[in-house]
Amino acid sequence: MLKALHENKGTQLVIGFFLGIGFGFLLQKGGVTRYDVIIGQLLLKDFTVLKVMLTAVVVGKIGIHFLWGIGMAQLHPKPGSMGSTLIGSLIFGAGFAILGYCPGTMVGAVGQGSLDALFGGIPGMLLGAGLFAALYPRLESRILNKGSFGELTLPQLLKVNHWWVIVIVAVMILVLLALLESSGL
């Protein structure tokens, strides 16, 4: 663990900035900062978004679990519940299709000159995040904790070693990607 580095706040801001540059560069090169590509995915006509995400997940999870195994990284799975994760993700999905960008690709779209993302998406998302902060006390006591399952991971749920899940999910993803390619999508 590079603990001293993690605790150096100034350096962390610089690292965050440079990782962001890499991320934004790749998102734009992948075409996923374009409205047409994202809507094409949601209409199941263009599978670029899924290909990018699933490849990142396969590469990412092998590396992260390797780093974790040798003590160089810690995992931070997010807690979840039906009331927060399920309801929130469906609201997000509706917004995803109406806007035609997700938060990261929306910022990348601004970088390539998309004014609908700059003047529509960004102020809208700030309003939505502010609205959530205003509603938070009421949502937290009534909805967000319904059906809570905490920071559960798939290996804990299935009670197996994490490498089984990594390998099986990776094979499923690779088969899906091969099927997409062979059917010309």
Binding site: L2, L13, I15, G16, F17, L19, G20, I21, G22, F23, G24, F25, L26, L27, K29, G30, D36, L42, L43, K51, V52, M53, T55, A56, V58, V59, G60, K61, G63, L67, A73, P77, K78, G80, S89, I91, F92, G93, G95, F96, A97, I98, C102, P103, G104, V107, G108, G113, D116, G120, G124, M125, L126, L127, G128, L131, A133, A134, L144, P155
Partner: protein, 166 residues
């Protein structure tokens, strides 16, 4: 080259996720930066009592690692678009224009509404397509796999309704 293979891009993002865990002990994500910024904007109008809101006690309205990451996304996408000569100020995406015409007002209102929903939904779900969709699923978090399924079900149903596929 204007566009790279989605697999090359996916491998690159996977490697970035290793670096984020290794160098910063953090998963890549985007949506809390918007909560923090929203708090900063609200503080301009309502003063320091904004920081007393329970949600801003969890996510203080300050610049942090993820906030800088989001600024970096803007810069990185700009560099990429510039290098391939794709940078162009546009109001109306092509697919939008061919279905709903080239009126700017309509696209602006709809983008604003979509923005409100992704802002609300991302914080409600505790993450977006980056934090849950990539960083969370690669940690094999149950919450993130559930979230990404919800994102796509909500997105596919809504997109098909908007573009009248049904």
């Amino acid at each position: 080259m204007a566009q790279w293979s989605p697999y090359a891009v996916g491998i690159g993002i996977g490697v970035l996720s290793w670096l984020a865990f290794l160098l910063s002990d953090k998963p890549i994500g985007c949506s809390t930066a918007f909560s923090r910024t929203s708090g900063m904007v609200e503080r301009l109008f309502r003063g320091s009592r904004v920081a007393e809101k329970p949600y801003y006690k969890k996510f203080a309205p300050t610049v942090d690692w993820e906030w800088m990451l989001v600024v970096g996304i803007l810069v990185g996408a700009f560099i990429s678009a510039q290098l391939s000569g794709e940078f162009r100020a546009t109001w109306i995406p092509q697919l939008w224009a061919s279905s709903f015409g080239s009126g700017i007002g309509m696209r602006w209102i709809v983008a604003l509404i979509g923005g409100v929903l992704i802002g609300l939904g991302a914080r409600w779900a505790g993450g977006c397509t980056s934090g849950h969709g990539i960083s969370g699923t690669l940690q094999l978090a149950v919450s993130s796999w559930l979230a990404v399924i919800g994102f796509f079900i909500g997105g596919i149903v809504t997109a098909m309704a908007i573009f009248r596929v049904f």
